[in-house]
């Protein structure tokens, strides 16, 4: 039996579906986060050069990876909304932006806390750090632009353009350590393999999956609020039990 996907791209159907899906992402996220951090702090060995300070990597790397990945997903949804005029895609893009901004901020903040004891500086204007800061500004710019336009459909279109143009920055962040001399070290996880102890890898991977599930749960919860806000005047929203109370 074929599933009618278009049925679920209607906000009225997706609202209920998203509500049912959230616990399936939220609970595994919490459990994996706890398990990943346990491995990171108690099982993974200390590092030969950086001793215990390297453990901030278990938060720093997942946050950085997701800040870039969420941006691409957000730009993808924004482009879908622009091209196909699907309302739900634009709402998903809007729902992802605050979480992306949060991860970009966590990445910069944890990086500063790591940089001071290891490099000797909170901040340097090298290509990796600067392009990640631009990513945070792109997220904030997207959110601000969307909020500044009263008509949501016009806001969707204007901010979608910003999101799509900004996606040029993501490959720059990723390859910055390769293209230019930077203080930030090169990639640990490469196509050819990972230059990291196995238990460290496991902890980092578990926290990455946990953060990813958290992103999905939070985006679904946020898109539900956005749907309610935008469809407040429709009949199906007025008939909802949680609205009538």
């Amino acid at each position: 039996m074929a599933i009618n996907w278009f049925k679920y791209s209607a906000p009225s159907t997706f609202y209920g579906l998203a509500g049912k899906l959230i616990p399936y992402f939220a609970w595994p996220a919490a459990l994996l986060f706890a398990y990943g951090l346990y491995i990171g702090f108690f099982v993974a060995p200390t590092d030969a050069t950086q001793s215990e300070a390297y453990r901030i990597i278990f938060l720093h790397v997942p946050a950085s990876i997701l800040s870039m990945f969420i941006y691409l997903i957000m730009a993808g949804y924004a482009a879908l909304g622009l091209i196909f005029n699907t309302r739900l895609s634009s709402m998903m893009a809007q729902a992802l932006a605050p979480t992306g901004a949060l991860f970009a901020f966590v990445s910069l903040w944890s990086g500063a806390l790591w940089g001071k004891p290891m490099w000797g500086a909170w901040w340097v204007w090298d290509a990796r750090l600067t392009s990640e800061l631009i990513l945070l500004f792109l997220y904030l710019g997207y959110i601000a632009l969307h909020a500044s336009i009263e008509d949501t459909r016009r806001a969707d279109r204007a901010s979608a353009l910003l999101a799509i143009v900004g996606s040029v920055n993501v490959p720059i962040i990723y390859f910055s350590v390769k293209w230019w001399n930077t203080l930030h070290q090169g990639a640990t996880i490469k196509m050819t393999g990972t230059s990291m102890h196995v238990a460290m890898q496991q902890a980092m991977f578990l926290v990455l999956v946990a953060c990813w599930l958290y992103v999905i749960a939070v985006a679904l919860a946020r898109v539900r609020s956005i749907i309610l806000e935008r469809e407040a005047n429709t009949q199906w929203v007025k008939e909802l039990k949680e609205v009538q109370q």
């Binding site: 060995p45 030969a48 050069t49 490099w119 000797g120 340097v124 720059i172 001399n181 930077t182």
Partner: protein
């Protein structure tokens, strides 16, 4: 073309144009985007003359010496091809070590020594427990003993071409 296809084509073409423009700008600014110059670039006079800039490379093994005041340090930065002597007065980061990465900000004075006012440590992307690091060192030493012809220091540090 339908309206949808037109919008798609417009977005793809726009993205390609923006990417090309950004690419050209970054290529033109290559030297400004890089955080530091290598000793080879400095030797080729590619680094700014007479003003402050950053130099990066490895701390040459056996070159670190402290002066009597306990604060002033002299060492050489090398990219395995050229060497730059550096003098610095201040506290060094914990990861500052011979044979490891370093980035220093400062100016070349008349004595042809790089007078640094900030020294940062650069670590590599490898993470391993101390036992594994020891085992690696031993294996390398055994290899070096087996082959008397020295292959120079390993290229564990990215050097600009």
């Amino acid at each position: 073309m339908t309206a949808r296809q037109k919008r798609l084509a417009f977005i793809v073409a726009g993205l390609v144009l923006v990417a090309a423009a950004v690419g050209l700008v970054l290529f033109a600014l290559k030297n400004n985007v890089s955080l530091y110059f290598t000793p080879t670039q400095v030797a080729n006079k590619e680094a700014p003359q007479g003003r402050s800039f950053r130099i990066g490379g490895l701390v040459e093994v056996g070159s670190v010496s402290r002066e009597k005041d306990g604060l002033t340090v002299r060492f050489n930065i090398t990219d395995t091809a050229k060497v730059m002597p550096v003098i610095y007065k201040g506290i060094l980061p914990d990861l500052f070590k011979e044979g490891k990465g370093v980035v220093a900000q400062g100016k070349i004075e008349a004595d042809n020594v790089f007078h640094a006012d900030e020294v940062l440590a650069k670590h590599d992307e490898n993470y391993m427990p101390p036992e594994a690091a020891d085992a690696l060192k031993k294996a390398e030493a055994a290899k070096a003993a087996a082959t008397p012809i020295s292959s120079g220091s390993s290229a564990e540090y990215p050097v600009a071409k």
